[in-house]
């Protein structure tokens, strides 16, 4: 699970807060969208011409 770090200045306690299922779903969707955008931005290799 993805998490964030939270420092409570009143208590001095640092905690690792796991994403809720909803936050994780949003995170996973964002990562997938970024990967799709990176793929779309990659140059397309030219197709080798058919040999006679």
């Amino acid at each position: 699970m993805t998490h964030r770090i939270v420092v409570d200045l009143q208590t001095g306690v640092t905690t690792q807060v796991e994403y809720t299922p909803e936050e994780q779903a949003v995170h996973d969707a964002a990562v997938a969208a970024q990967q799709a955008a990176e793929l779309a931005a990659q140059p397309i290799e030219p197709t080798p011409e058919a040999q006679p």
Partner: protein
């Protein structure tokens, strides 16, 4: 009913007088419910067991920025008018620029920031505006390692003004940024994250001071 006793000292010869100032109003001074010595304003005194709110600089807890998609500092007292965020060797695993956002008790606010961020490198200073937070870099790569300060000050009426000077140790590059943001309530938290919100911190230490 409790009572008040005035007790002299048999070893002394001086006369101590309780005097009233010239005033038409009446006042009551309540004695402390402790065995103690009252102090006046005639000499420098050392305060003990007292908390000064404002005027004193309080350090938060340094946190290793080695995991997670964001680092939050919560519980910032309402009297605070200046916050300093300190970066030492901070890095993320991606190319999304780090960003600082302010928040109130109901959460972090990610809109309404007014300002720009510049990367100063040899021969150019690429600059970008950012409305979703104080941008802590104009652009980065995954190798970026940052050091420096971010200052956040209260101009008034929940209007906060921020500036950052950070530089990289992996290459010769300095970032200068500033922004202002009107919060919808009283600031009580600060978040350091990235624009895409999915890159994770993988090195460094972050702490804050508040006053």
């Amino acid at each position: 009913m409790s009572s008040v006793a005035i007790q002299g000292n048999a070893a002394g010869a001086g006369v101590f007088t309780i005097a009233s100032p010239n005033s038409a109003s009446s006042y009551t001074a309540t004695l402390p419910t402790a065995t103690t010595t009252l102090v006046g304003t005639d000499a420098t005194q050392t305060l003990t067991n007292k908390t000064i709110q404002g005027g004193a600089i309080t350090s938060g807890t340094a946190v290793a920025s080695t995991s997670g998609t964001s680092i939050d500092f919560t519980g910032i007292p309402s009297y605070v008018k200046r916050i300093t965020v300190m970066f030492s060797g901070v890095s993320t695993n991606g190319t999304s620029v780090p960003i600082l956002r302010l928040g109130i008790s109901s959460g972090i606010e990610a809109t309404g920031y007014l300002g720009s961020t510049s990367n100063i490198v040899t021969g150019s200073t690429p600059t970008s505006t950012n409305t979703t937070g104080l941008g802590l870099a104009q652009a980065i790569d995954a190798a970026a390692i940052y050091h420096g300060h971010i200052f956040i000050t209260l101009l008034g009426s929940n209007l906060w003004v921020m500036s950052a000077v950070l530089s990289r140790s992996d290459t010769a590059l300095t970032t200068v940024a500033s922004s202002s943001k009107t919060l919808s309530g009283t600031l009580d938290r600060v978040r350091i994250t990235t624009v895409n919100g999915t890159d994770t911190f993988d090195a460094g230490t972050i702490n804050i001071l508040y006053e």
